[in-house]
């Protein structure tokens, strides 16, 4: 049995697509974003609404493949497909798009997408640790701020930035608390519900209402823990899922894991815990604080990306996991290559069973993946 409030959470997508239409018609500006590196706070300080546009559905891929290579990550193809088919209300109502130079696939796809709508591109440094990285990223924050000021004819003051930082930190804390409930053994929330709750927050038009909803969900789950109601029984192997982003429509591997009897307790990926881990420093100069926070994202686009291993280690211990599953979207070089490092780390340092799955959004390999997942879980028991 799932928490009752999950129905409300799931309804968000529909509710929000209406809300965004109303807001846009009432003159509110909308900034569409693609990645966890996007500093939402700056857009909010411009009094705009932010929405996540990452494509997580198979349907628009066919259209995208008319212009993009077939052998490309499904996330990029899906995002682009949504953009050119006008099937995504969030893309439709976006006044401007924010893109970052993350992986090569996204970077080049954005060049095509920029013909559709005004787009601003932030130049992300390749490494977070170099001496000039933070300076560079700080400048990029300022350029983005200036871009929005010009586009929307507003002034983004430090006070507004501070208010946005506070609000989003509250949202992060609320999500983090929800996530951490699954450190409990057995886990009270399924990985599927956790993913949905996190993914849907990306469409939230009304941030305050969103935080309140997550808090209510957390409360309900806490009450269930007290009553001893859990998502899975205590023998279910506890899995940490890491790797490429997932969302509704691209939850295949997560679903197979849980259908095969695993309890996915921690989602390390950027649509899960990754972006929540570090808060923005509320006492510092806002631009510096934002640059620091976003630059600390342990994404495989960075070289090196040792922060990911640290985060995996921390989560593996806090959530007492029994195994690690690394999801790689087909043709995602950064995560695919990094998987070798993660595998060795899992085996040699954490002493945990590890499984990598490389796939796309289609259902053609579900049977294959099931065999691998079941064998992996048999090995854990």
């Amino acid at each position: 049995m799932r928490p009752e409030i999950m129905a409300e959470v799931e309804g968000l997508r529909g509710v929000n697509s209406v809300k965004i239409k109303e807001a846009s018609e009432a003159g509110k500006k909308v900034v569409g974003m693609y990645c966890v590196f996007s500093p939402q706070e700056i857009a909010m300080a411009a009094d705009a609404i932010t929405v996540s546009l990452c494509g997580t559905i198979q349907a628009p891929i066919e259209e995208a493949e008319k212009e993009l290579p077939r052998n490309l990550c499904p996330l990029i193809k899906s995002s682009y497909g949504f953009a050119i088919t006008d099937k995504c209300p969030y893309f439709y109502f976006s006044d401007v798009l924010l893109a970052e130079t993350t992986c090569d696939g996204k970077k080049k796809m954005y060049e095509l997408m920029s013909k559709l709508k005004p787009m601003h591109i932030m130049n992300l440094p390749q490494t977070a640790n170099a001496e000039n990285s933070l300076e560079l990223w700080k400048k990029e924050m300022i350029y983005f701020k200036e871009f929005l000021e010009k586009q929307f004819g507003v002034e983004i003051t430090d006070d507004k930035l501070r208010a946005a930082i506070k609000l989003l930190n509250r949202e992060r804390k609320a999500m983090k608390r929800l996530h951490q409930l699954n450190a409990h053994k057995p886990a009270p929330l399924s990985g599927m519900d956790m993913m949905l709750a996190q993914w849907l927050k990306g469409f939230n038009v009304d941030k305050e209402a969103g935080i309140e909803l997550i808090e209510r969900l957390t409360k309900e789950v806490e009450e269930r823990v007290e009553k001893g109601i859990y998502a899975f029984d205590e023998n279910a192997p506890r899995i940490l899922l890491t790797g490429c982003p997932i969302g509704s429509g691209s939850e295949k591997v997560l679903r197979i894991l849980e259908e095969s009897g695993a309890s996915v307790v921690a989602l390390e990926n950027c649509t899960g815990y990754k972006g929540l881990d570090v808060l923005v420093d509320e006492d510092k100069d806002p631009i510096t604080a934002l640059a620091e926070k976003y630059l600390s994202t342990p994404c495989s686009c960075m070289t090196n990306n040792n922060g990911r291993l640290d985060l995996i280690e921390r989560l593996a211990k806090e959530y007492e996991v029994d195994g690690i599953v690394d999801l790689t979207w087909q043709a995602c070089h950064t995560y695919n290559i990094e998987s070798f490092t993660v595998k060795n780390f899992a085996k040699d340092v954490l002493n945990l069973p590890f499984l990598q799955i490389e796939t796309d959004y289609s259902d053609s390999d579900v049977g294959q993946i099931k065999v691998r997942v079941e064998a992996f879980l048999e090995g854990i028991k």
Binding site: E358, Q368, R372, E374, A375, E378, G379
Partner: protein, 254 residues
Amino acid sequence: MYSVGIDVGSVAAKAVVFDGHEIVAKEIIPTGWSPKESGEKLFEMVTSMARVDKNEIKSIVGTGYGRVALSFIDRKVTEITCHGKGAHFIDSNIRTVIDIGGQDSKVIKLDEKGNIIDFLMNDKCAAGTGRFLQVMAHALEIDVSELSQIGEGATPETISSMCTVFAESEVISLMASGASKEGIAAGLLQSVCSKTYTLVSKVGVQNKVFFSGGVSKNYLLREFLSKKLGVEVFSSELSQYLGAIGAAVIGYRD
């Protein structure tokens, strides 16, 4: 008491009866169009061969892609775990299992108790599987079982395509340009060998290495693999039954 292990693969279905010490009956039939029917038929066949009564059977375990279709079994276990247990039963010194079946190839690494430490399985693609060899043998107009015989001693032609569809046209143009059947046959086995080698290397070879699955009947390929891996690759007449044996062992013991 007895246990029965049934492995319904994409090409062949295999079953064994185990009495706790030995395999007392085994049988193999083509899977055909209905994995359910062939599984049921096989069960009747092996139990009557072993002359065991239904109430002497403590457990029936199914494995292989067709395991989900079997309604009369007590438990389903994946072919990966079963191959590991089966190999351990045959020889407890086995640490690496290379299994090449009709649709997939896998490499399994075992500990001294026969538990799986690691495994890798091919993805959607058919390169390096029994299916690949079957398509190629068809292009050469020979039976897949003849590949070893024909290729033995020949200088292998280079087959560079990984993809089954492209490799097939490569074979056809090699034939058109006058290359010998022998050389092509050897080349095809080399290509499966190198594909398998990559898979094995990713998991890491550990002696003793055992080769199972339908394709293991191909002795020339086994020879190529031994050479490439630098260790002897073993096989046995029970190779094709490895999954079924593992299933029966699991059913008997836990």
